[in-house]
């Protein structure tokens, strides 16, 4: 598959170096062609973009260098991305910059300002010895967007088809679908990709990563990752667009597969209790229950947002760390994390939780 990448930078040496690294390290089956553009080229003729049909746009953040005509772009990569976003609503735009860039005073950390870009990635990760899988990511996002571009009409039904959602998740997906796009009855590639990547794949609730999947089933992560269990739940694995980015599983499908196999007494129990009983009764491989990281009780019911370890709901507190939709699982932080970690932000607990922290003497 041929993928065209449009790469903007203010340094010809970077354009050449990283452009070459991308082209030379294309995995088999893919040919990545990088068209390199000095940012100032856009000053003279914005219409130059009319003839470009990229699958992916890479944009450097810093444009402080002058070009051969002593001209500077006069904007940073985020502003340039905004301009490009209007021109290319169906193409992924990724800031490709240097590692230290987020520490710079002029880097905008505001989510609203960064809203037009898909991701921020680092040039250094293109060096093959770093094994960062950055090129695989470029391919995943470019291919995913291409599928979105090709899909017609751009309605919710077709979007659900692109993510290969099981029927049992349709209702939740409809609740999650942005009202603006529902009213407009269409979506742009960027809107759809943002919804899939930043909401659906990002917050646990409809899709679960391995630790959430394991905890949902009441088993340890190691047990979940055994080949037998992975094969058993194979049809619950997320295989829709962008699936190369994360290992995710449909929650409703996990439930369906498990409960269809279980017998009535097991089915009447919560899944986290019934599944392990069923499995250990019928398989030679014995699964280990999920263990709460605070008290060691089993089965744990959720996963700590900070430690990513299973924890009982009664030994964790709601953490208002992001604006995830209501249908998603709430972020919770374990008592153990509250006691032992330095990265807990106490402003992100509500008053009830703060009182519990005080009563339980979790923090001096």
């Amino acid at each position: 598959m041929d993928l065209n990448i449009l790469y903007f930078d203010d340094e010809q040496t970077d354009l050449d170096r990283y452009g070459d690294l991308i082209e030379e390290n294309s995995p088999s089956g893919y040919t990545l062609k990088v068209e390199r553009m000095i940012g100032t080229a856009l000053i003279k003729n914005l219409n130059i973009l009319d003839t470009k049909f990229p699958d992916l746009i890479l944009v450097d953040f810093d444009y402080s260098n002058v070009d051969t005509n002593d001209e500077v772009l006069g904007m940073n990569g985020v502003t340039l991305s905004n301009l490009l976003r209007q021109k290319f609503p169906h193409v992924p735009i990724v800031i490709l910059t240097r590692l230290q860039i987020e520490q710079r005073a002029d880097f905008p950390h505001n989510e609203a300002i960064l809203a037009c870009i898909d991701d921020i990635k680092f040039k250094e990760d293109l060096i093959p010895t770093r094994n960062s899988n950055l090129i695989k990511y470029f391919i995943s996002i470019a291919v995913g967007y291409r599928k979105l571009r090709d899909k017609e009409p751009k309605n919710l039904t077709n979007l659900i088809e692109l993510i290969s959602a099981p029927e049992t998740s349709f209702d939740l997906l409809k609740m999650l679908y942005p009202i603006e796009q529902a009213k407009r009855k269409t979506w742009t590639g960027f809107e759809a990709a943002t919804w899939i990547r930043k909401i659906l794949m990002n917050f646990p609730g409809i899709l679960y990563n391995p630790i959430f999947s394991a905890t949902y089933l009441g088993i340890s992560l190691d047990s979940f990752q055994t080949p037998e269990v992975q094969t058993f739940f194979n049809s619950a694995r997320y295989i829709g667009i962008f699936s190369e980015e994360k290992d995710l599983w449909w929650k409703t499908k996990i439930f369906e597969i498990a409960s269809n196999s279980m017998e009535d007494p097991e089915r009447k129990l919560p899944l986290r209790r019934g599944f392990i009983k069923y499995w250990n009764r019928t398989h030679s491989l014995q699964l280990v229950p999920s263990v709460c990281e605070f008290k060691g009780d089993s089965p744990a019911e959720t996963v700590c947002y900070l430690s990513k370890k299973p924890v009982l709901l009664k030994y964790s507190l709601h953490y208002y760390v992001d604006n995830r939709p209501e249908v998603m699982d709430e972020a919770r932080v374990s008592f153990k994390s509250i006691q032992s970690r330095d990265d807990v932000n106490f402003d992100l607990f509500d008053e009830i939780a703060k009182e519990i922290i005080k009563k339980q003497k979790l923090k001096p």
Partner: protein, 240 residues
């Protein structure tokens, strides 16, 4: 933070939980959570709450018979040593059905009932009960705080239970809105609220209400159980 502000904060927290507010509909009033108020009389701190005019109505979606549960609550209690001593207390609970086969039973009900429920959008109270504190100066023995069925109906209930039934009266601890809510979740939303009821925040809020409204009650009950000269019910009926 005072005890009552802590209590009201708990109520507010509950009403922003999707597991609660999504089940509620407010028939008559604006979308505000119930609030407990305080008045000082002769240096006594009296808590009071009156939801008689603004009942809380929960939608029941997955029950064969019931469609709504309606709660009317009123109490007055004195705050003493971080607990409440009940002065006045009454809660009415009505379980409604909107299922036609229960609103009008062809074999048992008169055609007049059919006309009446038809006028009232096919809703009828299936069961009603109340928990109340014994009134002073009652002539017949009754437990200090008791639950019984039936009672005076409002005009559109058409409850199957005759209004004149006054007994049996079962001893029952007083329950505030939070403790009633736990009963509702356990009885009518057992599976879908299982995880919610496991949360530390919920457990602490319920325990806070237990301490406020029930700790005194159970301590006294416990002392009655060890009295060789009277029975538990005997004690219940003898105090006021």
């Amino acid at each position: 933070m005072t005890l009552i502000s802590e209590y009201n904060r708990n109520l507010k927290w509950l009403f922003i939980q999707k597991e609660i507010y999504k089940k509620l509909h407010y028939a008559n009033q604006a979308d505000i959570p119930p609030i407990c108020k305080i008045k000082e009389i002769n240096g006594k701190r009296i808590w009071y709450m009156d939801l008689l005019e603004t009942p809380l109505i929960f939608k029941i979606t997955s029950h064969d018979v019931f469609s709504e549960i309606e709660i009317l609550l009123k109490f007055e209690a004195e705050e003493i040593n971080e607990k409440l001593v009940i002065i006045q207390y009454g809660v009415n609970i009505r379980l409604w059905s909107d299922k036609s086969q229960y609103c009008y039973r062809e074999l048992f009900d008169s055609s007049r009932i059919k006309e009446l429920v038809d006028q009232g959008d096919w809703k009828r109270v299936m069961i009603r009960f109340h928990i109340e504190k014994k009134e002073p100066n009652v002539t017949l023995p009754e437990p200090f705080c008791h639950l019984n069925f039936g009672g005076k109906q409002s005009s559109n209930e058409y409850c199957w239970i005759p209004t004149t039934i006054r007994e049996p009266r079962f001893p029952h601890p007083p329950m505030d809105f939070v403790l009633l809510l736990e009963y509702i979740l356990v009885n009518y939303y057992p599976n879908e609220t299982r995880d919610f009821r496991e949360k530390r925040e919920w457990i602490d809020i319920v325990r806070f209400s237990q301490k406020l409204f029930q700790e005194n009650y159970f301590e006294v009950c416990q002392s009655w159980l060890s009295d060789e000269d009277n029975t538990y019910l005997g004690h219940q009926c003898s105090i006021c």
